[in-house]
């Protein structure tokens, strides 16, 4: 439970309160549920999105006997709905849940202590300080990555995704009515396609950093945890 709790701390970028102790699973349950549903949706979205951008090798047989691209696009749209609804629930939880839940939406950039902790954490990651007591610092850096690479990108992807979906669904669809304003900013939806595609790679880069940081943190913390236990 402790290890998984740590994973989730990195997920949520919440500075953990020592007093939570055994209550971690309960505190993070909705976030954990969202995290894995979201991760699965993003995996599907990334793979199908890449294929939609590049096209598939030609299928044999008649067009009436194949629906490969249709299925790929369906998977993309279905996963998109899952990710979007999940994100809405996550926003709800940020407002209604515990104090940590809002951290990926609200970064206290205006606070001096925030930047001091970021600085400490940069030193730690650059191997310039040996002090492993990096608890607040790590959380701050992860929080920055969460906010600027994940939260903002996902918001952008949901908006552009639904706008592009609205083009296919027709100008009288609710998707076009709600998100069609995007085409006042970029009248040629080719631009929206390009930006949506770039967003995929931002998410891929976030996933790289995210998974690496979590695994690294887990290994290092476990050692300190063990050493503490042994000591």
């Amino acid at each position: 439970m402790l290890d998984r709790g740590k994973l989730l701390t990195a997920d949520d970028a919440a500075p953990t309160d020592r007093s939570i102790g055994g209550g971690v699973a309960h505190v993070y349950a909705p976030v954990r549920l969202w995290h894995w549903a979201n991760a699965a949706a993003i995996l599907v979205l990334s793979l199908t999105g890449y294929l939609i951008g590049t096209g598939t090798p030609a299928m044999k047989g008649e067009a009436s006997g194949n629906f490969l691209f249709g299925y790929i696009r369906f998977a993309h749209f279905a996963a998109g709905y899952v990710a979007s609804v999940g994100f809405l629930l996550r926003i709800y939880w940020a407002l209604m849940g515990n104090a940590h839940a809002i951290q990926i939406f609200c970064v206290p950039l205006w606070r001096g202590c925030f930047w001091r902790e970021v600085y400490q954490e940069i030193l730690w990651y650059a191997f310039l300080t040996g002090d492993p007591d990096r608890r607040p610092g790590h959380d701050r850096l992860a929080q920055l990555a969460m906010f600027f690479m994940f939260t903002q990108t996902i918001t952008f992807m949901v908006v552009t995704g639904f706008a592009l979906y609205g083009q296919g669904a027709g100008t009288d669809s609710w998707q076009y009515k709600v998100f069609g304003w995007l085409f006042s900013i970029w009248p040629n939806s080719q631009d929206v396609h390009t930006l949506h595609h770039l967003g995929l790679w931002v998410i891929v880069m976030f996933a790289l950093v995210h998974i690496y940081a979590v695994i690294r943190e887990d290994i290092i913390s476990r050692r300190s945890f063990f050493s503490k236990k042994i000591g």
């Binding site: 096209g55 598939t56 040629n188 770039l198």
Partner: protein
């Protein structure tokens, strides 16, 4: 032009067109506008009773392909009659008058039909150097455009030039060519993009305005919804190959011969709003995709600046070298991956060579 009450019908009859042909035209127009069969008689009634709408057709920076398209409108009656039906008072490409005579017509129409004439603009004005890159009648075109727009009822922006800017506004746009809605902001502007627009769309739009005495419903971009509410992709006859995942890989490969989808060849059909796949060209003979070539997206904003016509992903020039989103994304992810790997390696080396002070090493509790 002298007789303001002259109706379309009287002009048509004067041109030697029979009443039977006139009604055929009304039926065809009603059908091409997607209206019911009863509307044909409404159109006939309107043309018989309504005074001709004076149209001033200005040319800025353009190639005249809009005019070329317009005069090739599929139905003979449109070619023979519509050009005369609308009181095309001024169009320097095809009018008989020239020089001072021609300019006098502009002044006269502007004064006589103030607030009642339609200003059709083909091409766009260059704005740099006070508009000196396009001189028309001894004045910068942008001044003529502003002056004529003041008294117009509505303005039609023919083609991609007037609607979006087109080739003369492509980067780096040395003359500062700008779509007309950047110059005229206080009048309704109907954008009819396309390079050129489809002839039947042009004549259909004019007929709509003349018949109903109002502008058609416009979409968010200011285009008539009846022609620009669907993409080429939505009505493409190769769409089934798209859904099936059957794409042309190279020009002249066997998939091209089978007529598979041109998505991977850079077809811009999925991002292009136009009626080509429904109305087609040259009297419904064909359209680019049908001839085996992908859509260039000529009716979309900035279609010259979206990289190759033959790539699905747009070239992104902001990165200095011409790359698309996939190449940039992969390169960035690759660099990041290497950084992560290097960081992991340094972490491992540190852990192995340097024993941390475990008393202080609290790690992150959870």
């Amino acid at each position: 032009m002298d007789d303001a009450t002259e109706t379309f019908y009287s002009v048509i009859r004067r041109q030697g067109i029979t009443r039977r042909s006139f009604h055929k035209f009304c039926s065809v127009t009603a059908a091409s506008l997607g209206l019911g069969s009863l509307t044909a008689s409404n159109i006939a009634h309107a043309l018989e009773t309504k005074p001709r709408v004076p149209v001033i057709w200005l040319h800025g920076l353009e190639c005249t392909c809009c005019s070329e398209s317009f005069i090739r409108s599929a139905h003979p009656l449109i070619k023979d009659a519509l050009l005369s039906m609308i009181s095309l008072d001024y169009d320097d490409t095809i009018m008989a008058a020239a020089g001072h005579q021609a300019e006098a017509i502009l002044e006269e129409t502007r004064a006589k039909y103030k607030g009642r004439y339609v200003l059709a603009v083909e091409g766009n004005p260059p704005l740099k150097e006070g508009g000196m890159f396009c001189i028309d009648g001894g004045k910068p075109f942008v001044e003529k455009l502003r002056w004529m727009a003041e008294g117009a009822m509505a303005i039609i922006a023919w083609g991609t030039c007037a609607s979006w800017g087109c080739v003369q506004a492509a980067k780096p746009n040395p003359t500062g060519a700008a779509p007309i809605d950047k110059v005229i902001t206080d009048k309704p502007i109907i954008k009819v993009p396309g390079c050129p627009p489809i002839a039947e769309i042009m004549s259909g739009l004019v007929t709509f305005i003349v018949t109903f005495g109002k502008l058609p419903e416009l979409d968010r971009q200011g285009r008539p919804s009846m022609f620009y509410s669907e993409r080429i992709h939505d009505k493409c006859y190769r769409r089934s190959h798209f859904d099936a995942g059957q794409f042309v890989e190279e020009w002249d490969d066997r998939y091209a011969r089978k007529g598979y989808c041109l998505y991977k060849m850079g077809c811009k059909g999925p991002t292009t709003y136009n009626a080509c796949s429904a109305v087609r060209w040259n009297g419904g003979v064909s359209f680019p995709v049908q001839s085996g070539h992908g859509c260039l997206g000529c009716s979309e904003d900035g279609f010259w600046d979206k990289g190759s016509f033959y790539d699905r992903l747009t070239t992104i020039k902001q990165f200095g070298i011409e790359e698309n989103a996939d190449k940039i994304g992969m390169a960035a992810a690759g660099v990041l991956g290497l950084t992560v790997a290097a960081h992991a390696a340094v972490t491992a080396v540190k852990r192995l060579t340097h024993k941390p002070d475990r008393a202080a090493g609290k790690g992150k509790p959870s």
